[in-house]
Symmetry: C2
Subunit: 337 residues, 2 copies
Amino acid sequence: MNLQDYSAQMLPAIESELQQFVDRLGQDRANGFHEMLTYHMGWTGEGAGREAQGKRIRPLLMLLTTAACGKNWKPALPAAASIELIHNFSLVHDDIQDHSDLRRGRPTVWKKWNMPQAINVGDMLFILAQMAILGLQEHFPAEIVLKVDGIIQKACMELSCGQYLDISYESQNNLALEDYWPMVSGKTAALLSACPWVGALLGGADETQQEAWQNFGHSLGLAFQVQDDYLGIWGDSALTGKSTESDLVAGKKSLPVLFGMEKRGAFAKRWSEGPIQPEEVSFLAEQLTEEGAKLYTQQAADQMTELALQNLRMAAPKGKAGEALYELAHELLKRQA
Amino acid sequence: MNLQDYSAQMLPAIESELQQFVDRLGQDRANGFHEMLTYHMGWTGEGAGREAQGKRIRPLLMLLTTAACGKNWKPALPAAASIELIHNFSLVHDDIQDHSDLRRGRPTVWKKWNMPQAINVGDMLFILAQMAILGLQEHFPAEIVLKVDGIIQKACMELSCGQYLDISYESQNNLALEDYWPMVSGKTAALLSACPWVGALLGGADETQQEAWQNFGHSLGLAFQVQDDYLGIWGDSALTGKSTESDLVAGKKSLPVLFGMEKRGAFAKRWSEGPIQPEEVSFLAEQLTEEGAKLYTQQAADQMTELALQNLRMAAPKGKAGEALYELAHELLKRQA
């Protein structure tokens, strides 16, 4: 069993678990509502399929952790579904907040229907995520279910605080490098940290082990985000592909941009003058490189990656599932585009 | 102890419980976020105070039920806070969805800040509501906490389905009278039904009694909504006050309007031709009366009120708290404006 074998078993089980909760909606009067949810989840509508569903990284990470603690991963499925539903709730609202037209190559929910319905679709995904937590009762004692609930709510609070910072940063031009970490700790790391934490709890790990797993998820999330920020400026699709995919055009306050702003050099000057145009992208990326942002970001990504792998070793995953977890971490952190 | 005495004890306790959960947010980096939440809750900002906080009907209803089951209401406070936070989450999102500028006489959150932050404020209120449920663990066994959780999530699902219908109805002109009940069952009755249900569960009521309490809340919610719909057209502030407060101008598909649409008479003709202007309000209200909508709505309100009181008798509330509950129900259902 390697990562591919585990994925082949787990992904269909995750999909069917998710579907079960979304189908709680009933299909008489709320027919159209159900359709909005299944569309967003990538199961129905134009372009439905694997590509539209996303990678389901979070539930996979959780279930592999339970398996790497030496336990059967199947009873943990409702928790895995809950985390994925929360991730998707945040995507639906994020797309409205960012005014994004496309998600995984398809029109976003607010674009396809309208903004009021899309807010409500996000809300319902979050409500179904709460329902999913309760689904753990079939296999776990009530005290454990409440512990999982507490971990997930804490992650959601951090997620929402990160979202607040992200939206606030858009209109702030006096940000420092140190403003970066609390924002991404919330927006990316909180939910990713909850995955192995809950997975370990449901895998019977003790509190010390749970902490190691939690740290692994947190540093994995940060490493992933810094890597994403790097690729958003120097990745193939940002530079040589459609330069509209560059974070510079999107105006994203990513780590390299915050580094450049703090330097107060030529990049900062141009950045402060207003939106970056696609034709400026390669010049400004070069500018950032010269000012040291590329090296800094690469080093931060390397450090976080090293920390994540170190935390994974501390968590001491067992057996083939443990090896698959190393594989998953490497796959997430070695993306090239 | 009458309703006023109970309110004098319970309302400050509810407020301080709510505050405790909102303060979980911390106040370092998320300072501005905390301010948005306390503003909406009516504690800070211009116009803060009792008026801005709303009536806290839902938590009051829950706590009175626990007391009317012969138990101490104080341990039930986290559940009461949870329901009120959910109500407020739905208000914040509703105001965005309806594009409403004012809530309880003050600028709405999206109007005062912006739409992206307001979506996130609603999300955070909902997350805090989940946290609040977990707060019950201090006084109740885990199994009971999960039961409360299940009741509240079910109510939220219905609330969100009702919201879906409400938004959908806006663009539908072939609605029938029967489309009304599923919408208001979700939008108004679901959460109101959860209040006495949870209150009774935490008051140690058995399942049969819980069902009676749940039915009381449900019919109270429907009666309240039908009454609200009546006042929205024939109430003092709709007719003789600012006629912009009329549901006719707002284009709301309320019970009298659906009645009129189904009649396909003069009212339906005018309604189908586009937005109603303030100067048409008294004429169209009269038209609806002539077509039988006023009598029909009044009868529906009376029937639902009778049912609610009957269900309350079935639930057999005890002692002074029981009397206060009758008082509360009468107060809710006998509003004149």
